[in-house]
Protein backbone atom coordinates (compact mmCIF):
# COMPACT_ATOMS: atom_id res chain seq x y z
CA UNK A 1 0.00 0.00 0.00
CA UNK A 2 3.07 2.25 0.24
CA UNK A 3 2.83 4.12 -3.06
CA UNK A 4 -0.90 3.82 -3.70
CA UNK A 5 -2.21 6.88 -1.78
CA UNK A 6 0.37 9.18 -3.38
CA UNK A 7 -0.20 7.90 -6.91
CA UNK A 8 -3.96 8.20 -6.43
CA UNK A 9 -3.61 11.74 -5.08
CA UNK A 10 -1.33 12.69 -7.98
CA UNK A 11 -3.86 11.37 -10.49
CA UNK A 12 -6.74 13.21 -8.78
CA UNK A 13 -4.80 16.46 -8.56
CA UNK A 14 -3.80 16.14 -12.22
CA UNK A 15 -7.37 16.31 -13.48
CA UNK A 16 -8.54 18.67 -10.77
CA UNK A 17 -5.93 21.26 -11.78
CA UNK A 18 -7.55 21.41 -15.21
CA UNK A 19 -11.13 20.94 -13.99
CA UNK A 20 -12.54 23.30 -16.62
CA UNK A 21 -11.39 20.92 -19.29
CA UNK A 22 -11.90 17.65 -17.43
CA UNK A 23 -15.14 18.28 -15.50
CA UNK A 24 -16.92 21.49 -16.55
CA UNK A 25 -16.54 21.00 -20.33
CA UNK A 26 -18.13 17.51 -20.44
CA UNK A 27 -20.98 18.75 -18.23
CA UNK A 28 -21.60 21.53 -20.75
CA UNK A 29 -21.51 19.05 -23.65
CA UNK A 30 -24.08 16.81 -21.96
CA UNK A 31 -26.32 19.79 -21.28
CA UNK A 32 -26.21 20.74 -24.97
CA UNK A 33 -27.11 17.17 -25.95
CA UNK A 34 -30.08 17.36 -23.61
CA UNK A 35 -31.30 20.70 -24.92
CA UNK A 36 -30.98 19.76 -28.59
CA UNK A 37 -32.25 16.17 -28.46
CA UNK A 38 -34.98 16.77 -25.92
CA UNK A 39 -36.28 19.72 -27.97
CA UNK A 40 -36.06 17.87 -31.27
CA UNK A 41 -37.53 14.54 -30.12
CA UNK A 42 -39.89 15.43 -27.28
CA UNK A 43 -43.35 14.11 -28.09
CA UNK A 44 -42.07 11.99 -30.99
CA UNK A 45 -40.36 9.30 -28.96
CA UNK A 46 -41.86 7.72 -25.86
CA UNK A 47 -39.99 4.76 -24.50
CA UNK A 48 -41.77 3.95 -21.24
CA UNK A 49 -45.22 4.99 -20.09
CA UNK A 50 -45.10 7.87 -17.59
CA UNK A 51 -41.56 8.76 -18.68
CA UNK A 52 -41.01 11.67 -21.06
CA UNK A 53 -38.22 11.53 -23.63
CA UNK A 54 -36.17 14.17 -21.74
CA UNK A 55 -36.52 12.13 -18.54
CA UNK A 56 -35.46 9.00 -20.42
CA UNK A 57 -32.50 10.79 -21.94
CA UNK A 58 -30.95 12.26 -18.78
CA UNK A 59 -29.72 9.01 -17.14
CA UNK A 60 -28.25 7.94 -20.49
CA UNK A 61 -26.39 11.23 -20.83
CA UNK A 62 -25.16 11.02 -17.25
CA UNK A 63 -23.85 7.50 -17.76
CA UNK A 64 -22.34 8.35 -21.14
CA UNK A 65 -20.43 11.21 -19.51
CA UNK A 66 -19.30 8.96 -16.66
CA UNK A 67 -17.99 6.35 -19.10
CA UNK A 68 -16.28 8.67 -21.57
CA UNK A 69 -14.55 10.67 -18.87
CA UNK A 70 -13.41 7.64 -16.92
CA UNK A 71 -11.78 6.38 -20.12
CA UNK A 72 -10.27 9.75 -20.98
CA UNK A 73 -8.72 10.13 -17.53
CA UNK A 74 -6.53 7.06 -17.36
CA UNK A 75 -5.81 6.97 -21.10
CA UNK A 76 -4.70 10.58 -21.43
CA UNK A 77 -2.77 10.60 -18.16
CA UNK A 78 -0.69 7.56 -19.06
CA UNK A 79 -0.09 8.47 -22.70
CA UNK A 80 1.01 11.98 -21.66
CA UNK A 81 3.46 10.48 -19.17
CA UNK A 82 4.76 8.06 -21.78
CA UNK A 83 5.13 10.62 -24.55
CA UNK A 84 6.77 13.26 -22.35
CA UNK A 85 8.91 10.62 -20.63
CA UNK A 86 7.88 11.43 -17.06
CA UNK A 87 6.48 7.90 -16.70
CA UNK A 88 10.03 7.12 -15.58
CA UNK A 89 9.24 8.73 -12.20
CA UNK A 90 6.62 6.06 -11.63
CA UNK A 91 8.76 3.23 -12.97
CA UNK A 92 11.84 3.92 -10.84
CA UNK A 93 10.14 3.62 -7.41
CA UNK A 94 8.91 0.29 -6.04
CA UNK A 95 5.28 0.80 -7.08
CA UNK A 96 3.58 -2.60 -7.35
CA UNK A 97 1.50 -3.29 -10.43
CA UNK A 98 -1.68 -3.73 -8.37
CA UNK A 99 -1.11 -0.32 -6.73
CA UNK A 100 -0.50 1.23 -10.15
CA UNK A 101 -3.70 -0.29 -11.50
CA UNK A 102 -5.71 0.67 -8.41
CA UNK A 103 -4.60 4.30 -8.41
CA UNK A 104 -5.23 4.92 -12.12
CA UNK A 105 -8.59 3.17 -12.18
CA UNK A 106 -9.85 4.73 -8.95
CA UNK A 107 -8.88 8.23 -10.13
CA UNK A 108 -10.78 7.53 -13.36
CA UNK A 109 -13.82 6.42 -11.35
CA UNK A 110 -13.67 9.63 -9.30
CA UNK A 111 -13.45 11.78 -12.43
CA UNK A 112 -16.26 9.82 -14.11
CA UNK A 113 -18.50 10.17 -11.06
CA UNK A 114 -17.62 13.86 -10.65
CA UNK A 115 -18.65 14.58 -14.24
CA UNK A 116 -21.75 12.37 -13.90
CA UNK A 117 -22.77 14.18 -10.71
CA UNK A 118 -22.17 17.49 -12.49
CA UNK A 119 -24.38 16.50 -15.43
CA UNK A 120 -27.08 15.33 -13.05
CA UNK A 121 -26.86 18.52 -10.98
CA UNK A 122 -27.26 20.69 -14.08
CA UNK A 123 -29.95 18.68 -15.84
CA UNK A 124 -32.29 18.40 -12.82
CA UNK A 125 -32.97 22.12 -13.32
CA UNK A 126 -34.56 21.26 -16.66
CA UNK A 127 -35.99 17.78 -16.16
CA UNK A 128 -37.80 16.31 -13.20
CA UNK A 129 -36.29 12.95 -12.27
CA UNK A 130 -37.27 10.15 -9.95
CA UNK A 131 -34.81 7.83 -8.26
CA UNK A 132 -36.49 4.45 -7.92
CA UNK A 133 -33.47 2.42 -6.80
CA UNK A 134 -30.46 4.63 -5.94
CA UNK A 135 -28.16 1.71 -5.11
CA UNK A 136 -28.46 0.43 -8.68
CA UNK A 137 -27.59 3.90 -9.94
CA UNK A 138 -24.48 4.02 -7.77
CA UNK A 139 -23.51 0.41 -8.46
CA UNK A 140 -23.71 0.68 -12.25
CA UNK A 141 -21.98 4.08 -12.24
CA UNK A 142 -19.12 2.67 -10.15
CA UNK A 143 -18.67 -0.52 -12.17
CA UNK A 144 -19.12 1.28 -15.50
CA UNK A 145 -16.54 3.90 -14.60
CA UNK A 146 -14.14 1.20 -13.40
CA UNK A 147 -14.54 -0.71 -16.69
CA UNK A 148 -13.81 2.39 -18.75
CA UNK A 149 -10.96 3.46 -16.44
CA UNK A 150 -9.45 0.02 -16.96
CA UNK A 151 -9.98 0.20 -20.73
CA UNK A 152 -8.33 3.63 -20.71
CA UNK A 153 -5.38 2.23 -18.83
CA UNK A 154 -5.05 -0.64 -21.32
CA UNK A 155 -5.21 1.86 -24.19
CA UNK A 156 -2.60 4.04 -22.47
CA UNK A 157 -0.28 1.08 -22.00
CA UNK A 158 -0.71 -0.07 -25.60
CA UNK A 159 -0.50 3.29 -27.35
CA UNK A 160 2.78 4.94 -28.29
CA UNK A 161 1.29 8.25 -29.40
CA UNK A 162 -1.72 10.50 -28.83
CA UNK A 163 -3.10 9.61 -32.25
CA UNK A 164 -3.63 5.99 -31.24
CA UNK A 165 -5.53 7.05 -28.12
CA UNK A 166 -7.72 9.34 -30.23
CA UNK A 167 -8.38 6.43 -32.60
CA UNK A 168 -9.34 4.16 -29.69
CA UNK A 169 -11.58 6.88 -28.27
CA UNK A 170 -13.31 7.84 -31.53
CA UNK A 171 -13.52 4.48 -33.28
CA UNK A 172 -14.22 2.20 -30.31
CA UNK A 173 -15.45 4.03 -27.22
CA UNK A 174 -17.61 6.67 -28.91
CA UNK A 175 -19.54 4.31 -31.26
CA UNK A 176 -20.07 1.80 -28.44
CA UNK A 177 -21.52 4.50 -26.16
CA UNK A 178 -23.62 6.15 -28.86
CA UNK A 179 -25.04 2.81 -29.98
CA UNK A 180 -25.75 1.54 -26.50
CA UNK A 181 -29.19 3.05 -26.06
CA UNK A 182 -28.27 6.42 -24.60
CA UNK A 183 -30.65 8.19 -26.97
CA UNK A 184 -33.21 5.44 -27.58
CA UNK A 185 -34.50 2.13 -26.26
CA UNK A 186 -33.12 -0.84 -28.13
CA UNK A 187 -36.70 -2.14 -28.29
CA UNK A 188 -37.36 0.54 -30.88
CA UNK A 189 -34.71 -1.02 -33.17
CA UNK A 190 -35.31 -3.66 -35.86
CA UNK A 191 -34.53 -7.26 -34.83
CA UNK A 192 -30.94 -7.63 -36.07
CA UNK A 193 -29.91 -4.28 -34.56
CA UNK A 194 -31.51 -5.26 -31.28
CA UNK A 195 -29.46 -8.44 -31.26
CA UNK A 196 -26.32 -6.49 -32.18
CA UNK A 197 -26.96 -4.03 -29.35
CA UNK A 198 -27.04 -6.90 -26.89
CA UNK A 199 -23.46 -7.73 -27.87
CA UNK A 200 -22.42 -4.25 -26.81
CA UNK A 201 -21.36 -4.32 -23.14
CA UNK A 202 -22.03 -0.58 -22.88
CA UNK A 203 -25.73 -1.27 -23.41
CA UNK A 204 -25.90 -3.17 -20.09
CA UNK A 205 -24.16 -0.34 -18.21
CA UNK A 206 -26.61 2.27 -19.53
CA UNK A 207 -29.65 0.05 -19.17
CA UNK A 208 -28.80 -1.02 -15.62
CA UNK A 209 -28.06 2.55 -14.65
CA UNK A 210 -31.38 3.69 -16.09
CA UNK A 211 -33.18 0.95 -14.11
CA UNK A 212 -32.05 2.73 -10.93
CA UNK A 213 -34.00 5.82 -12.02
CA UNK A 214 -37.21 4.33 -13.41
CA UNK A 215 -37.39 0.86 -11.88
CA UNK A 216 -37.83 -0.47 -15.41
CA UNK A 217 -35.34 -1.37 -18.13
CA UNK A 218 -34.87 -3.15 -21.47
CA UNK A 219 -32.98 -6.02 -19.83
CA UNK A 220 -33.27 -7.53 -16.31
CA UNK A 221 -30.92 -5.52 -14.05
CA UNK A 222 -29.37 -8.53 -12.32
CA UNK A 223 -28.43 -9.97 -15.71
CA UNK A 224 -26.95 -6.59 -16.71
CA UNK A 225 -25.03 -6.51 -13.43
CA UNK A 226 -23.63 -9.95 -14.18
CA UNK A 227 -22.52 -8.86 -17.67
CA UNK A 228 -20.77 -5.69 -16.47
CA UNK A 229 -19.31 -7.49 -13.44
CA UNK A 230 -17.78 -10.19 -15.63
CA UNK A 231 -16.55 -7.52 -18.11
CA UNK A 232 -14.82 -5.65 -15.30
CA UNK A 233 -13.22 -8.83 -13.97
CA UNK A 234 -11.95 -9.82 -17.44
CA UNK A 235 -10.58 -6.40 -18.34
CA UNK A 236 -8.96 -6.00 -14.93
CA UNK A 237 -7.26 -9.37 -15.32
CA UNK A 238 -5.93 -8.40 -18.78
CA UNK A 239 -4.75 -5.01 -17.52
CA UNK A 240 -3.03 -6.50 -14.44
CA UNK A 241 -1.28 -9.08 -16.62
CA UNK A 242 -0.05 -6.33 -18.95
CA UNK A 243 1.21 -4.26 -16.03
CA UNK A 244 2.88 -7.24 -14.38
CA UNK A 245 4.68 -8.15 -17.58
CA UNK A 246 5.81 -4.54 -18.05
CA UNK A 247 4.33 -4.57 -21.58
CA UNK A 248 5.31 -1.34 -23.38
CA UNK A 249 6.39 0.21 -20.08
CA UNK A 250 9.55 -1.70 -19.20
CA UNK A 251 11.38 -2.79 -22.32
Amino acid sequence: MGSFPTLLYKELLRFWKVAFQTVAAPVMTALLYLLVFAYALEGRVRVYEQVSYAQFLVPGLVMMSVLQNAFANSASSLIQSKVTGNVVFMLLPPIGYVEFFGAYVLASVVRGLAVGAGVLAVTVWFVELQLAAPLWVLGFALIGAAILGTLGLIAGIWADKFDQIAAFQNFVILPLTFLSGVFYSIHSLPGPWQAASKLNPFFYMIDGFRYGFFGTSDFPPFASLAVVGVSLALLSAICLLLLRSGYKLRY
Partner: protein, 299 residues
Protein backbone atom coordinates in the same frame (compact mmCIF):
# COMPACT_ATOMS: atom_id res chain seq x y z
CA UNK B 1 31.74 -5.76 2.05
CA UNK B 2 28.42 -5.32 0.22
CA UNK B 3 28.64 -4.48 -3.42
CA UNK B 4 26.65 -1.42 -4.42
CA UNK B 5 26.10 -2.78 -7.91
CA UNK B 6 26.85 -6.22 -9.24
CA UNK B 7 26.27 -7.05 -12.91
CA UNK B 8 26.83 -10.62 -14.08
CA UNK B 9 26.96 -11.43 -17.80
CA UNK B 10 24.26 -8.91 -18.60
CA UNK B 11 22.94 -9.16 -22.13
CA UNK B 12 20.29 -7.13 -23.88
CA UNK B 13 19.05 -7.92 -27.36
CA UNK B 14 16.56 -5.89 -29.37
CA UNK B 15 15.78 -8.30 -32.18
CA UNK B 16 19.04 -8.80 -34.05
CA UNK B 17 20.75 -5.91 -32.28
CA UNK B 18 22.86 -6.74 -29.24
CA UNK B 19 22.87 -3.61 -27.11
CA UNK B 20 24.79 -5.40 -24.34
CA UNK B 21 26.84 -8.48 -25.07
CA UNK B 22 27.55 -10.00 -21.66
CA UNK B 23 28.78 -7.23 -19.37
CA UNK B 24 30.04 -8.06 -15.89
CA UNK B 25 31.20 -5.46 -13.41
CA UNK B 26 31.12 -4.67 -9.73
CA UNK B 27 30.88 -1.32 -8.02
CA UNK B 28 31.91 -1.29 -4.37
CA UNK B 29 29.98 0.60 -1.71
CA UNK B 30 31.20 4.17 -1.38
CA UNK B 31 32.92 4.27 -4.77
CA UNK B 32 32.75 7.10 -7.29
CA UNK B 33 32.48 5.04 -10.45
CA UNK B 34 32.56 6.23 -14.05
CA UNK B 35 30.87 4.50 -16.96
CA UNK B 36 32.25 5.78 -20.22
CA UNK B 37 31.79 4.96 -23.86
CA UNK B 38 30.83 6.49 -27.18
CA UNK B 39 27.18 7.04 -28.09
CA UNK B 40 25.39 3.74 -28.53
CA UNK B 41 27.94 1.81 -26.46
CA UNK B 42 25.23 0.55 -24.08
CA UNK B 43 25.77 2.82 -21.05
CA UNK B 44 22.15 3.95 -20.75
CA UNK B 45 20.92 0.41 -21.45
CA UNK B 46 23.08 -0.92 -18.61
CA UNK B 47 21.89 1.82 -16.25
CA UNK B 48 18.28 1.20 -17.28
CA UNK B 49 18.67 -2.49 -16.46
CA UNK B 50 20.13 -1.62 -13.05
CA UNK B 51 17.15 0.70 -12.49
CA UNK B 52 14.59 -1.89 -13.63
CA UNK B 53 13.44 0.26 -16.57
CA UNK B 54 14.73 -2.28 -19.05
CA UNK B 55 14.77 -6.04 -18.57
CA UNK B 56 17.96 -7.89 -19.35
CA UNK B 57 17.75 -10.67 -21.96
CA UNK B 58 20.22 -12.65 -19.84
CA UNK B 59 22.35 -12.18 -16.75
CA UNK B 60 21.77 -10.88 -13.25
CA UNK B 61 21.95 -7.45 -11.65
CA UNK B 62 21.92 -6.70 -7.95
CA UNK B 63 21.79 -3.36 -6.15
CA UNK B 64 23.13 -3.53 -2.57
CA UNK B 65 22.63 -7.28 -2.78
CA UNK B 66 19.00 -7.08 -3.94
CA UNK B 67 18.15 -8.62 -7.31
CA UNK B 68 16.54 -5.99 -9.54
CA UNK B 69 13.86 -8.45 -10.70
CA UNK B 70 13.24 -10.91 -7.85
CA UNK B 71 13.64 -8.35 -5.07
CA UNK B 72 12.75 -5.25 -7.06
CA UNK B 73 11.16 -3.34 -4.19
CA UNK B 74 14.34 -3.42 -2.09
CA UNK B 75 16.60 -2.86 -5.11
CA UNK B 76 14.68 0.25 -6.17
CA UNK B 77 14.69 1.69 -2.66
CA UNK B 78 18.47 1.45 -2.71
CA UNK B 79 18.82 3.32 -5.98
CA UNK B 80 18.37 6.93 -7.09
CA UNK B 81 18.59 7.64 -10.81
CA UNK B 82 19.03 11.00 -12.52
CA UNK B 83 17.83 10.31 -16.06
CA UNK B 84 19.61 11.70 -19.08
CA UNK B 85 16.51 13.30 -20.62
CA UNK B 86 15.16 16.50 -19.11
CA UNK B 87 11.76 15.04 -18.21
CA UNK B 88 9.13 16.60 -15.96
CA UNK B 89 5.40 16.55 -15.28
CA UNK B 90 3.96 19.87 -16.48
CA UNK B 91 0.95 19.69 -14.15
CA UNK B 92 2.84 20.18 -10.91
CA UNK B 93 5.10 22.51 -8.94
CA UNK B 94 8.62 21.63 -7.81
CA UNK B 95 7.45 20.86 -4.29
CA UNK B 96 4.53 18.74 -5.47
CA UNK B 97 6.88 16.83 -7.78
CA UNK B 98 9.23 16.08 -4.88
CA UNK B 99 6.42 15.15 -2.50
CA UNK B 100 4.97 12.74 -5.05
CA UNK B 101 8.33 11.15 -5.69
CA UNK B 102 8.79 10.73 -1.96
CA UNK B 103 5.31 9.24 -1.59
CA UNK B 104 6.00 6.71 -4.35
CA UNK B 105 8.68 5.33 -2.04
CA UNK B 106 6.15 5.19 0.78
CA UNK B 107 7.65 8.24 2.54
CA UNK B 108 4.83 10.60 3.39
CA UNK B 109 6.38 12.75 6.12
CA UNK B 110 9.55 13.75 4.35
CA UNK B 111 9.23 17.53 4.18
CA UNK B 112 12.33 18.27 6.26
CA UNK B 113 14.56 16.34 3.82
CA UNK B 114 12.75 17.81 0.81
CA UNK B 115 13.41 21.30 2.20
CA UNK B 116 17.06 20.43 2.68
CA UNK B 117 17.38 19.15 -0.89
CA UNK B 118 15.64 22.23 -2.25
CA UNK B 119 18.00 24.46 -0.30
CA UNK B 120 21.20 22.60 -1.25
CA UNK B 121 20.29 22.63 -4.91
CA UNK B 122 19.40 26.36 -4.84
CA UNK B 123 15.76 25.70 -5.68
CA UNK B 124 14.18 27.55 -2.75
CA UNK B 125 12.91 30.48 -4.82
CA UNK B 126 11.37 28.07 -7.34
CA UNK B 127 9.86 25.58 -4.89
CA UNK B 128 6.29 26.66 -5.62
CA UNK B 129 6.77 27.37 -9.31
CA UNK B 130 5.25 25.09 -11.93
CA UNK B 131 7.80 22.78 -13.55
CA UNK B 132 6.90 24.20 -16.98
CA UNK B 133 8.22 27.63 -16.03
CA UNK B 134 11.68 26.42 -15.01
CA UNK B 135 14.82 26.83 -17.11
CA UNK B 136 16.67 23.72 -18.30
CA UNK B 137 19.25 24.04 -15.54
CA UNK B 138 16.59 24.34 -12.85
CA UNK B 139 14.76 21.31 -14.24
CA UNK B 140 18.03 19.38 -14.06
CA UNK B 141 18.35 20.31 -10.37
CA UNK B 142 14.82 19.05 -9.72
CA UNK B 143 15.76 15.75 -11.41
CA UNK B 144 18.68 15.43 -9.01
CA UNK B 145 16.45 16.22 -6.04
CA UNK B 146 13.90 13.64 -7.22
CA UNK B 147 16.60 10.98 -7.39
CA UNK B 148 17.68 11.75 -3.82
CA UNK B 149 14.30 12.19 -2.20
CA UNK B 150 14.35 8.69 -0.63
CA UNK B 151 18.02 8.94 0.48
CA UNK B 152 19.26 6.07 -1.67
CA UNK B 153 22.69 4.65 -0.85
CA UNK B 154 23.46 4.26 -4.57
CA UNK B 155 23.04 7.17 -6.98
CA UNK B 156 23.28 6.87 -10.75
CA UNK B 157 23.73 10.00 -12.83
CA UNK B 158 23.28 9.52 -16.56
CA UNK B 159 25.08 12.43 -18.23
CA UNK B 160 23.95 14.94 -15.64
CA UNK B 161 25.98 17.82 -17.04
CA UNK B 162 25.01 17.51 -20.70
CA UNK B 163 24.08 21.02 -21.83
CA UNK B 164 24.51 22.48 -18.36
CA UNK B 165 26.25 25.80 -17.70
CA UNK B 166 29.47 26.08 -15.71
CA UNK B 167 27.84 27.44 -12.57
CA UNK B 168 25.33 24.61 -12.29
CA UNK B 169 28.05 22.10 -13.04
CA UNK B 170 30.02 23.41 -10.06
CA UNK B 171 26.97 23.36 -7.76
CA UNK B 172 26.12 19.86 -8.93
CA UNK B 173 29.59 18.41 -8.48
CA UNK B 174 30.04 20.00 -5.08
CA UNK B 175 26.80 18.44 -3.98
CA UNK B 176 27.54 15.01 -5.49
CA UNK B 177 31.02 14.99 -3.98
CA UNK B 178 29.55 15.71 -0.58
CA UNK B 179 27.10 12.85 -0.99
CA UNK B 180 30.02 10.59 -1.91
CA UNK B 181 31.98 11.73 1.17
CA UNK B 182 28.89 10.95 3.26
CA UNK B 183 29.08 7.35 2.03
CA UNK B 184 26.82 7.31 -1.04
CA UNK B 185 28.01 5.27 -3.98
CA UNK B 186 28.01 7.32 -7.17
CA UNK B 187 27.85 5.92 -10.69
CA UNK B 188 28.35 8.51 -13.39
CA UNK B 189 28.17 8.45 -17.15
CA UNK B 190 29.50 11.47 -18.97
CA UNK B 191 31.04 12.58 -22.22
CA UNK B 192 33.11 15.17 -20.35
CA UNK B 193 36.19 13.07 -19.72
CA UNK B 194 37.97 15.68 -17.63
CA UNK B 195 35.04 15.47 -15.19
CA UNK B 196 35.33 11.70 -15.01
CA UNK B 197 39.09 11.92 -14.52
CA UNK B 198 38.71 14.40 -11.69
CA UNK B 199 35.85 12.68 -9.90
CA UNK B 200 35.94 8.93 -10.47
CA UNK B 201 37.95 6.39 -8.44
CA UNK B 202 37.35 3.68 -11.01
CA UNK B 203 36.25 3.67 -14.59
CA UNK B 204 34.58 1.17 -16.90
CA UNK B 205 34.59 1.72 -20.65
CA UNK B 206 31.98 0.21 -22.93
CA UNK B 207 32.10 -0.13 -26.67
CA UNK B 208 29.40 -1.74 -28.81
CA UNK B 209 27.86 -3.41 -25.77
CA UNK B 210 31.14 -4.88 -24.48
CA UNK B 211 33.26 -3.94 -21.52
CA UNK B 212 36.63 -2.92 -22.99
CA UNK B 213 38.35 -1.45 -19.92
CA UNK B 214 37.78 -1.60 -16.18
CA UNK B 215 40.32 -0.31 -13.73
CA UNK B 216 41.13 2.47 -11.31
CA UNK B 217 41.45 5.87 -12.97
CA UNK B 218 45.10 5.99 -11.88
CA UNK B 219 45.94 2.63 -13.44
CA UNK B 220 44.19 3.49 -16.67
CA UNK B 221 46.10 6.75 -16.95
CA UNK B 222 49.33 4.92 -16.20
CA UNK B 223 48.69 2.11 -18.64
CA UNK B 224 47.31 4.02 -21.58
CA UNK B 225 48.49 7.59 -21.37
CA UNK B 226 52.04 8.85 -21.09
CA UNK B 227 53.34 12.24 -20.09
CA UNK B 228 53.62 14.65 -22.99
CA UNK B 229 56.82 16.69 -23.04
CA UNK B 230 57.05 19.78 -25.24
CA UNK B 231 60.55 21.08 -25.83
CA UNK B 232 62.19 23.94 -27.66
CA UNK B 233 65.90 23.38 -28.16
CA UNK B 234 68.77 25.40 -29.55
CA UNK B 235 69.32 22.45 -31.93
CA UNK B 236 67.18 21.38 -34.86
CA UNK B 237 67.80 17.71 -34.11
CA UNK B 238 67.16 15.47 -31.16
CA UNK B 239 70.01 13.41 -29.71
CA UNK B 240 70.02 9.66 -30.42
CA UNK B 241 68.77 7.10 -27.91
CA UNK B 242 66.07 9.11 -26.13
CA UNK B 243 63.74 6.99 -24.02
CA UNK B 244 60.69 8.71 -25.52
CA UNK B 245 58.49 8.60 -28.57
CA UNK B 246 58.52 11.59 -30.89
CA UNK B 247 54.92 12.61 -31.55
CA UNK B 248 55.53 15.77 -33.58
CA UNK B 249 58.20 18.28 -34.55
CA UNK B 250 58.24 21.74 -36.01
CA UNK B 251 61.81 23.12 -36.58
CA UNK B 252 63.29 23.43 -33.08
CA UNK B 253 60.06 22.43 -31.32
CA UNK B 254 59.57 18.77 -30.36
CA UNK B 255 56.62 16.96 -28.81
CA UNK B 256 57.62 13.76 -27.07
CA UNK B 257 55.68 11.17 -25.14
CA UNK B 258 57.27 9.75 -22.03
CA UNK B 259 56.22 6.48 -20.48
CA UNK B 260 56.00 8.16 -17.08
CA UNK B 261 57.57 10.99 -15.10
CA UNK B 262 60.61 8.78 -14.35
CA UNK B 263 61.60 8.84 -18.02
CA UNK B 264 62.09 12.62 -17.85
CA UNK B 265 65.39 12.27 -16.00
CA UNK B 266 66.86 10.08 -18.76
CA UNK B 267 65.72 12.51 -21.48
CA UNK B 268 67.26 15.50 -19.71
CA UNK B 269 70.45 13.52 -19.16
CA UNK B 270 70.76 12.66 -22.88
CA UNK B 271 70.11 16.28 -23.84
CA UNK B 272 72.89 17.48 -21.49
CA UNK B 273 75.26 14.83 -22.87
CA UNK B 274 74.60 15.90 -26.45
CA UNK B 275 75.25 19.53 -25.60
CA UNK B 276 71.73 20.68 -26.48
CA UNK B 277 70.29 23.36 -24.30
CA UNK B 278 66.60 23.79 -23.52
CA UNK B 279 64.88 27.09 -24.40
CA UNK B 280 61.36 26.12 -23.36
CA UNK B 281 59.94 23.11 -21.59
CA UNK B 282 56.36 22.15 -20.87
CA UNK B 283 54.93 18.97 -19.32
CA UNK B 284 51.38 17.81 -19.80
CA UNK B 285 50.05 15.28 -17.31
CA UNK B 286 48.35 12.11 -18.61
CA UNK B 287 44.71 12.63 -19.49
CA UNK B 288 41.67 10.42 -19.73
CA UNK B 289 40.76 11.60 -23.18
CA UNK B 290 43.96 10.06 -24.49
CA UNK B 291 43.23 6.84 -22.59
CA UNK B 292 39.69 6.78 -23.95
CA UNK B 293 40.79 7.28 -27.56
CA UNK B 294 43.45 4.60 -27.29
CA UNK B 295 41.15 2.07 -25.64
CA UNK B 296 38.47 2.69 -28.24
CA UNK B 297 40.95 2.44 -31.11
CA UNK B 298 42.27 -0.85 -29.78
CA UNK B 299 38.86 -2.60 -29.71
Amino acid sequence: MTLAIEALNVEKRYGALRALAGVSLEVAEGEFFGLLGPNGAGKTTLISIVAGLVRASAGKVRVMGADVIDDYRRARRMLGVVPQELVFDPFFTVRETLRFQSGYFGLRRNDAWIDELVEHLDLTSKADANMRTLSGGMKRRVLVAQALVHRPPVIVLDEPTAGVDVELRQVLWQFIRRLNRDGHTIVLTTHYLEEAQELCDRIAMLKAGRLVALDSTRNLLKAFSGVVLRLRLDHEALPEGLDAELLARDADRFTLELRDYGALEQVLHRLRESGASIRELELEPPDLEEVFLRVMARH
